[in-house]
């Protein structure tokens, strides 16, 4: 019965649908994770490793454009600095970024609470 259901599921559901929906679900959460992680100054590579250690794996192709967008929106500040004889770009949450993170976390908690209520019925 389970195999039959799985075959039916495979035939009717678009193969990448789960992956696409998962990416959509993660997109907003990633922004919050990056903002929260950048409460302490970090450069791209260490930021990615730190996020991965917390279970938020993000590839560089997504992270660096996201950092640039957040900086252009005034939520991050960055500066090029030498460390270990190499130039690295360090990012830090700006004052506006802190305020935005606070609002986003409140919104996320509200969504989480609503969703819990809906799922539990």
């Amino acid at each position: 019965m389970c195999i039959a259901q799985w075959v039916l599921y495979s035939m009717t559901i678009e193969p990448n649908l789960f992956e696409n929906l998962r990416m959509e679900l993660r997109r907003g959460s990633l922004i919050m994770a990056v903002l929260a992680q950048l409460r302490t100054e970090q450069y791209g590579y260490t930021l990615r490793k730190a996020l991965a250690e917390h279970g938020m794996v993000i590839d560089e192709g997504t992270l660096y454009p996201l950092l640039r967008r957040l900086e252009s929106q005034g939520l991050l500040v960055s500066e090029w600095r030498e460390e270990d004889k190499r130039n690295k770009r360090f990012y830090l949450l700006s004052a506006d970024g802190k305020a935005m993170l606070k609002q986003l976390l409140a919104e996320w908690k509200s969504i989480d609470s609503s969703l819990n209520g809906i799922v539990k019925g």
Partner: protein, 338 residues
């Protein structure tokens, strides 16, 4: 490290010019850090295969660079303008196709060889490609301006829901229109059928002096068939007023056929009328009369031709609207049943 340089060079080429150096510098730093970590893990320097494997994880330069591109440069025509762009493009291409086909049919009916039919159809490509290019360019510019000037946001601020168009009425062929078509069509057909026996119906008092040239005979049957088609359409629409597609299709087909007939008449039939032979001064007078009538008929036919040609546009438009409604109806039905 040459492989990394080559990779960065390929990415840089595809990046927005103003940000090229900055992005490549940061990407370079990330790749080097990752390779150092890998070297520490393997406890040996990386060879080219190891480096290629890491670069493969970063992705193709096209994909990497595309992620740094921000709107409005990501697309030529965005989702806001695309429906309008698609509508204008389709309409223009259909009109171009119709004109080219008509031209081909006209060439064929006037005795031109089949080669001309093919040439006429190929002319569509010459018309369609520039049309596609100009429409795309125009909408590309509009989309760019929309993105820069935020025209949609401004429109949204000024928009009042009360300015929305009223609900579309269910389209039907009016009963009065069908009755008028039936009456007028019947009178016209009776007149057409009587004309060969009563020339008075065309020439009036001059019927004793003038007659139609024999070439007209070959156009008589097509003209009668055309009139019968119009009569049949009116009769059917009287019973089924919701068949608006029938009126649109009959009008377009009649228009096209009438143009073809008219072209043949103008091409083959001159003089249109001749004077009935009579010797003496009366005969000479009739010849003058016939010449005058010929000029009048030529002018009237040319005017009719222009009118029919202009009429093609609204008739083709009506047909396209009917086709669109038909396919929308089918799509709606399919979505309901699935």
């Amino acid at each position: 490290m040459e492989l990394i340089q080559r990779y960065l060079q390929a990415v840089k080429f595809l990046l927005p010019r103003a940000q090229q150096d900055d992005i490549v510098k940061e990407l370079s730093e990330d790749i080097r850090s990752r390779m150092e970590d890998k070297e520490a893990e393997l406890t040996r320097p990386l060879n080219e295969i190891d480096q290629a494997a890491i670069l493969k994880q970063y992705g193709h330069p096209l994909i990497v660079a595309s992620r740094y591109r921000q709107p409005p440069f990501q697309h030529l025509i965005g989702p806001v303008l695309f429906p309008f762009y698609w509508f204008v493009l389709k309409t223009l291409l259909w009109i171009a196709l119709g004109v080219c086909l008509l031209n081909s049919i006209a060439l064929l009916t006037s005795g031109e060889p089949l080669r001309h039919l093919l040439n006429g159809t190929l002319a569509f490509a010459h018309t369609a490609l520039p049309a596609f290019g100009w429409v795309t360019l125009l909408f590309g510019v509009l989309d760019f301006l929309e993105g820069r000037l935020r025209l949609l946001d401004r429109l949204n601020r000024r928009w009042d829901p009360r300015s929305l168009p009223s609900l579309a009425k269910r389209t039907q062929v009016r009963r009065s229109e069908s009755i008028f078509g039936l009456v007028a069509g019947t009178v016209y057909i009776i007149w057409l059928l009587a004309v060969p026996y009563y020339p008075f119906l065309i020439f009036g008092p001059a019927a004793s002096a003038l007659r139609l040239t024999p070439v007209w005979h070959q156009f008589y049957i097509p003209v009668v068939v055309l009139a019968l088609a119009g009569l049949a359409q009116s009769a059917v629409n009287l019973a089924r007023p919701d068949w608006t597609w029938l009126r649109a299709a009959t009008r377009l087909v009649s228009n096209v056929v009438a143009l073809i007939i008219l072209r043949s008449i103008l091409h083959k039939t001159y003089p249109f009328v001749t004077a009935i032979a009579d010797k003496g001064t009366t005969g000479a007078h009739y010849e003058t009369l016939a010449a005058t009538v010929n000029i009048c008929i030529a002018v009237a036919l040319a005017g009719t031709g222009i009118g029919l040609f202009i009429g093609l546009i609204p008739n083709a438009w009506l047909c396209l609207s009917e086709l669109r409604r038909f396919f929308q109806g089918r799509a709606a039905t399919a979505s309901h049943t699935s």
